[in-house]
């Protein structure tokens, strides 16, 4: 992009040629100079010289095209400069000499040309090695020029061809831009991909810059600002909020970070170039230049930024300062080259021919080129609709729903109105549009024939809009061309009526073009438009898009009219619908809600997936736009309607049945969609080019930059870890156990797990539970009087570490039956976790307590015998944790060097003292539990049944040693480990043991003593323990009374589903087993559990497995559908994938069916099919 020196025109170059835009009349269609090339245009420069105001140079691969746009468009190329062998990267006009220019190229040559002899360059310089990216003439010394090659700068003297004057090794990465100072001939700025801008004085030093700015983005351009002192503009090549930064560097030295004095921010894509547009009075002796920044960006916006007085002040630019002696500002003819120069008639035919046949009006960036245009005037309308003046460019970016919606339906100026009307009435032909002068010539076919009521006749109307339109005095003037078809009376009548309509509308300060056109097209126009306004619901919340409703009404009228004109005045209004292919049969208005700007969705694992569609647009509004400020849509994006236009666009697109029909397919959804979304999908237009770029951006290491919320980010998806907020912890689930040990040990284990991950509350709760869960015998109650003290001590120790005061105060006793102990405390705990909604604790507690509960029932259904599951999947580090935990509780078993297997029946222990009987019964209880689990696990009974709980009681047992043989007729095992009380016993084991000690203080002393001498290595083993009925003596809590059983089941179900999501199907199955203990259960979950996912129980005599295979579908292990290899248990008919069965039976060493039905499938036949 380049701006003419007179400041009026801007030229944009693309693969289709040059586009000349008159910045003073942006509504006018740009002038298009065709030059089809497959090469991206690297640079275009407008000659800065007065003598050649119409000269433009652009690049086309290795050639430079010199245009003279004073000549007709088809013949505007003055010279082709061809001497480079590879693509030209930069062009620079000589600042003083109008005929000289320099080009540089990837071939490492820098050439200087004299346009008077364009056949060959007049000078050439070469770096030989590195291709050149920039070349710039010195502003002051006409012989000096600088070129940038890769990461260094060479300074040349035009009179000295071979060697550079200086070489500046300026940067560490490719240099993107250099710029000489206008004031000092030794100074220049360079900027580079190494994210720095450096200021050099090559006469001082070529090694160290005078000043360095570090930016956080690669810098594409750093240029002096033409006004003020020591100011430069910095433009990022990507990132940097797509802004242009203005920096004062006057008194700065050394290095610093980017500290912009002003930021021009607003583009949504990287800025491609920025130039200054300047105006001043002719022949003035003072410096009265006015500046405007022109930027143009990959978002296809060309924006003009007015420079406010405060910016001038900030940069020490004093307007109207007398110019220094001898210097005067160059005056340029303020004329636009946008209009075609007058040409001979043959030429114009050729032009028209050219223009009439062009299609595929695509952007230079290779964006979407699918918008097919059939004629110029439509094209022009699109152009107009892309233009936003002042604030309007930013209007719809705000999602604020409190904003009135009415505003949007009103065009903001004549240009918009024209484009609205043009889009709405495709049958109108705009023969001339001149928004700046307010002159329109429109031709149309209307039903005004005097002979034939149905016939349409051609009319051409010229409308002049006054400047103050629309207002009471600013009523447009109409004139109708006389034709033979149109009778004079009719003509007068039409004129009168349209004037009437116009006046009426203008009085109300409304735009009148549309009603007038509707009238001329033969539609009845109601003049009581105010009524229709009142019909609209007053509350914008009810129907936020009332604007559309109104429009839609019009739309049906219009379409009715159109179809009438096609099918000769039939009143069939809706015939239009069929003509628009793919159109949704919309309700009276589209109630599709505005898309959500952002969202957050929980995942089962406690992460939060958030997505945002950043709304930078809001911030843009902080930049003030003056009267002149406007933003242009790039001509190359004409196909894409802009936001403001959307509501209106909707109707036009839907009603158009003619040339737009094809485009509708493509654009319709976009448009419809946009009607509801103020913020843009700009991206779609430039998607082609940008997708790749952005992609690489987001995938490469530079995630940091994308995180830095640069404007690159059109949308972001982030996954946040919020597991801390979710009470159910995945890592705990990996460590927790519910089966395979005594409940108190499990609780202890779980406490350790919780402690390990730092959940103190939970750990304490588990500890409490483990105390509670220690099976106690009623004999102990009677011994309470004696044994209470040590217990209390212990409990105090526990409770002190517990945060909840009420527990600490009330929890005095440890056995489950006590009202404060078991029932009350567990109840409270449950209630607490219910309030905390900690499903994990609820489910786990219910499982642990449940087992406890059912132990005194007959039911051996409870699978307390499944071994502990160590997750195979190592999803988190918890694997190591869980395995190590796995070991700890087992340790006492392994270390059962001294193992006692007391089987003292309370009743039989007549010859013992009471405390002794207590002790032994405790141990008997625990040992039984252990031994039972051993039996169920299928481990051979020959190994000694161990009882860790008993160890503390050694002393007491020692005292009764004599009596032992009578209870243990079996072998006295030999054993090793002399020191059972060695450090290997964890503290918790001690505690656990102590908790079981119901002996007196005295005994505890004994215990202490006993640690000192080696213990007798005695081994006891229980025989025929089935006959023992110790359970009768075990006192356990009644869960039923405390909690709603159903509720607990629900908790377990929910926790099980969580476990499933966490990838712990085995744990899930274990938890669920607690729910399905009772065979008679027929709840729905039960059916689901046993029936739907798996084998449907049919009549037992049917052994046709193939038949049944059709019924059963889901593997019980992974819950996925079963297709190929299946194992079926012949007893319970539950199925599993062959691989899953392998995992379940072999790796996990499970004994029971994965469905949790309690069937010991391995004992039956398992059919593999």
């Amino acid at each position: 992009m380049s701006v003419a020196p007179n400041g009026r025109d801007a030229v944009l170059a693309g693969r289709k040629g040059l586009f000349v835009i008159d910045l003073d009349d942006p509504f006018a269609a740009p002038r298009w100079l065709h030059h089809e090339t497959s090469w991206e245009v690297a640079d275009v420069q407008w000659s800065p010289h007065k003598s050649k105001p119409s000269w433009i140079v652009s690049t086309s691969n290795q050639k430079a095209m010199v245009w003279n746009i004073a000549r007709p468009s088809h013949d505007a190329i003055e010279h082709v400069l061809h001497s480079h062998t590879r693509a030209i990267t930069d062009i620079n006009f000589h600042p003083n000499h109008p005929e000289l220019l320099a080009t540089c190229s990837v071939d490492s040559f820098v050439l200087s040309w004299d346009l008077r002899c364009p056949q060959s360059p007049i000078h050439q310089w070469a770096d030989w090695r590195a291709g050149s990216s920039q070349v710039k003439w010195n502003y002051i010394d006409p012989n000096i020029l600088a070129s940038a090659h890769d990461s260094h700068i060479l300074i040349w003297d035009a009179r000295k061809g071979a060697l550079p004057l200086h070489r500046i090794n300026a940067h560490e990465a490719r240099i993107n831009g250099i710029d000489w100072s206008r004031e000092n001939k030794h100074r220049l700025i360079s900027c580079s991909n190494d994210m720095s801008v450096k200021f050099w004085s090559y006469n001082v030093s070529c090694d160290t810059p005078t000043y360095t700015i570090h930016t956080d983005f690669p810098v594409a351009r750093a240029r002096h600002v033409p006004f003020g002192d020591h100011i430069c503009g910095i433009m990022p090549s990507r990132g940097g909020n797509n802004s242009v930064y203005i920096v004062k560097y006057g008194d700065k030295e050394q290095e610093s970070n980017l500290r912009p004095s002003y930021i021009f921010k607003g583009h949504t894509e990287p800025v491609k170039d920025f130039v200054w547009r300047t105006r001043h009075h002719e022949n003035s002796s003072v410096d009265d230049r006015e500046f405007q920044l022109v930027t143009w960006s990959a978002d296809c916006d060309l924006r003009l930024w007015p420079i406010n007085q405060d910016i001038y002040d900030n940069f020490n630019y004093v307007k109207n300062k007398p110019l220094p002696q001898g210097i005067h500002l160059q005056d340029f003819d303020y004329r636009s080259y946008r209009p075609e120069p007058p040409t001979s008639s043959e030429n114009s035919v050729i032009i028209r021919h050219h223009r009439g046949h062009r299609d595929a009006y695509s952007s230079p960036g290779g964006g979407r080129g699918s918008f097919t245009l059939y004629n110029d005037q439509f094209n022009h309308l699109n152009w107009i609709s892309g233009i936003k003046v002042g604030q309007s460019a930013f209007q719809n970016v705000d999602n604020d729903f409190n904003r009135g919606f009415n505003d949007d339906t009103q065009p903001l100026n004549l240009g918009e109105e024209v484009s609205n009307v043009g889009h709405k009435f495709p049958r109108l032909r705009f023969e001339k549009i001149s928004v700046s002068t307010g002159n329109l010539v429109i031709s149309l076919n209307g039903p005004w024939s005097s002979d034939n009521k149905d016939g349409l006749i051609f009319i051409r109307v010229e409308i002049d809009f006054p400047e103050n339109y629309p207002s009471k005095n600013g009523c447009p003037k109409f004139s109708l061309e006389q034709t033979h078809e149109l009778s004079e009376t009719k003509r007068q009548e039409l004129l009168k009526n349209s004037r009437e309509i116009a006046e009426k509308y203008c009085e109300a300060r409304k735009f009148c073009l549309e009603p007038c056109m509707r009238f001329l097209l033969g539609e009845r126009v109601s003049l009581d438009f105010t009524d229709s306004d009142e019909e609209l619901p007053l509350d914008p919340y009810v129907i936020p898009y009332e604007g559309e409703t109104a429009k839609n009404d019009e739309f049906s009228e219009v379409s009715g009219l159109e179809s009438a004109s096609i099918s000769t005045a039939s009143e069939n209004v809706d015939s239009d619908e069929g003509l628009v292919p793919g159109d949704l049969k919309k309700p009276s208005f589209d109630s599709t809600p505005v898309p959500k700007g952002c969202g957050a969705i929980w995942t089962p694992s406690g992460h939060l997936v958030c997505f945002f569609n950043p709304k930078e647009a809001k911030k843009e509004q902080t930049i003030k736009f003056g009267q002149q400020g406007f933003s242009l849509m790039n001509p190359l994006r004409m196909g894409i309607p802009d936001n403001d236009r959307l509501e209106l666009e909707l109707t036009s697109s839907a009603s158009s049945t003619s040339s737009l029909a094809n485009d509708l397919d493509i654009l319709q959804y976009d448009r419809l969609y946009r009607t509801n979304i103020p913020e843009v999908l700009r991206g779609s237009a430039v998607a082609g080019t940008l997708a790749n770029h952005n992609y690489s951006l987001s995938t490469d290491r530079s995630q940091g930059t994308s995180n830095s919320r640069s404007k690159h980010n059109r949308n972001i998806v982030k996954i946040y870890d919020f597991t801390r907020l979710i009470p159910a912890k995945m890592e705990l689930a990996y460590g927790y156990r519910v089966l395979g040990d005594t409940p108190e040990n499990l609780a202890q284990h779980n406490a350790l797990v919780a402690e390990k991950y730092g959940y103190k509350d939970i750990a304490n709760c588990w500890k409490l539970l483990s105390i509670l869960l220690v099976k106690d015998v009623e004999v102990d109650t009677s011994a309470n009087g004696i044994s209470a003290n040590p217990q209390n001590e212990l409990i105090d120790k526990f409770t002190r570490s517990i945060d909840r005061d009420d527990v600490a105060l009330n929890y005095r006793f440890y056995w489950g039956s006590h009202p404060f102990g078991g029932q009350w405390l567990t109840h409270e705990l449950m209630k607490y976790y219910e309030a905390k909604e900690d499903i994990q604790m609820l489910a786990m507690m219910s499982c642990i307590l449940y087992e406890h509960n059912t132990n005194d029932k007959r039911s051996p259904e409870i699978p307390i015998n499944t071994s502990y599951f160590v997750p195979v999947v190592s999803r988190t580090s918890s694997t190591e944790g869980s395995t190590s935990f796995h070991g700890i509780p087992q340790r006492p078993h392994m270390q059962s060097a001294v193992s006692f297997n007391a089987r003292t029946l309370p009743g039989n222990a007549t010859n013992m003292n009471r405390s002794m009987s207590t002790l032994s019964s405790i141990s008997a209880d625990s040992s039984l539990k252990n031994s039972e689990s051993h039996r169920r696990r299928g481990i051979k009974q020959s190994n000694t049944t161990t009882n860790d709980n008993q160890i503390p009681h050694i002393p007491s047992i020692v005292t009764i040693e004599g009596s032992l043989p009578q209870y243990s007729p079996s072998s006295v095992a030999s054993s090793a480990a002399s020191n059972v009380f060695s450090h290997s016993f964890d503290k918790f084991m001690m505690n656990n043991g102590n908790a079981n000690v119901s002996g007196s203080q005295q005994q505890r002393q004994q215990l202490k003593v006993s640690t000192d001498f080696s213990l007798p290595q005695v081994k006891l083993q229980i025989l025929n323990k089935e006959s023992l009925d110790l359970y009768d003596n075990v006192h356990s809590m009644d869960m039923e009374g405390m909690m709603d059983k159903e509720k607990l089941k629900l908790y377990r179900i929910e926790y099980a589903s969580l476990l499933f999501f966490w990838g712990l199907p085995v744990s899930r199955a274990k938890i669920l087993q607690f729910n399905y203990t009772d065979e008679s259960e027929t709840s729905d979950e039960y059916i689901e559990h046993r029936g739907e996912i798996g084998w449907i129980k049919q009549s037992q005599d049917s052994y046709n497995y193939r038949d049944r295979l059709r019924e059963m579908k889901k593997c019980h292990y992974c819950l996925l559908q079963v297709k190929k290899r299946v194992t079926v248990c012949t007893h319970c008919h539950h199925i599993m994938h062959a691989e899953c069965a392998m995992k379940w039976w072999e790796r996990e060493k499970m004994m029971e069916c994965a469905s949790g039905c309690g069937c010991h499938c391995l004992e039956y036949k398992i059919v593999d099919m």
Binding site: W602, F611, F722
Partner: protein, 292 residues
């Protein structure tokens, strides 16, 4: 933290992780759905699904027991079902019962089977049942007069699996609770909750099986209402509670309950996500905030 920027060329409308937290599905105005493989902090685009003719509003993963199934709904009025098999994604079903944009989809609790609730701007809701043989059974009913913006299923009723409930929010500013009526084979309105003064943009029924039902409804009137009802007491009315007493700074777009623990995430027009948790006194407290 996984951050994916510019995944799509248009606005993103939904992003959902699957049940195992391995796959992320996003959908956008660019009419595509993208599937990302998420592993730790890394992510990889594994598939771009094209098939919709308009912006895709929402995506939803079916329960894994049905396989790797993704449903998507779009402005084009269609709901598409995608399935991955052997690393290949294909469109296996399409339902186009709606006359206008389908704004939300939601899979029913897996106990009910493969049931998908769709809500549309044509004012209707539909529940599509995908059956084993590939056929679909659809129940369509008129739900909200101007359009239905969101729908969500109740967690499964323990005592009666047939007693299905769902909640919808619409442009009539109402939140409606529907119950499945097996006899008529349709959904009948059980409750119409009033409280919002603008379009209800999202409703979410908490999946937690606690003593109370929780429904959160987010609205363009910048409020979020928590509706609660005692599970045990069938006759008790729905209680209304504002999530926060003053209004949110901007419209509220989405509400999402955590799988467990009843943490509510609200996203709003100010591009902020706030997290809410009920304290022991039954008051809702902000537990976190995520800024863009």
């Amino acid at each position: 933290m996984v951050t994916i920027s510019n995944a799509h060329d248009g606005l993103i409308h939904d992003a959902v992780l699957d049940y195992y937290g391995k796959r992320l599905a996003t959908c956008s105005s660019d009419k595509t759905i993208k599937i990302f493989q998420v592993e730790g902090d890394d992510y990889k685009l594994i598939e771009t699904l094209q098939g919709h003719e308009g912006p895709v509003w929402q995506v939803s993963w079916a329960h894994p027991k049905f396989g790797i199934i993704l449903a998507s709904c779009s402005y084009d009025g269609k709901v598409l079902i995608w399935k991955e098999e052997g690393g290949v994604w294909s469109n296996i079903a399409e339902c186009s019962v709606h006359q206008a944009s389908v704004n939300s989809i939601s899979w029913a609790p897996s106990e009910y089977g493969a049931l998908l609730l769709c809500t549309s701007s044509d004012g209707k809701c539909s529940v599509v049942e995908f059956q084993e043989d590939g056929s679909q059974k659809t129940i369509v009913w008129q739900a909200h007069s101007i359009g239905v913006n969101a729908g969500s299923w109740a967690p499964p009723q323990k005592e009666n699996i047939q007693e299905r409930r769902l909640v919808t929010g619409g442009c009539d500013n109402l939140v409606k609770i529907w119950r499945y009526d097996a006899a008529q084979n349709t959904y009948v309105v059980e409750e119409a909750l009033t409280g919002h003064t603008d379009w209800v943009r999202d409703v979410a029924w908490s999946p937690s099986l606690l003593s109370k039902y929780y429904i959160a409804s987010a609205s363009q009137d910048r409020t979020v209402i928590i509706w609660t009802k005692n599970v045990a007491d069938k006759m008790s009315p729905w209680k209304k509670q504002l999530l926060r007493q003053d209004k949110f700074p901007d419209v509220c777009w989405r509400a999402s309950w955590s799988m467990s623990g009843n943490v509510l995430a609200i996203s709003g027009g100010d591009n902020k996500v706030t997290l809410w948790k009920e304290n022991l006194n039954g008051q809702w407290e902000q537990a976190g905030e995520v800024d863009q």
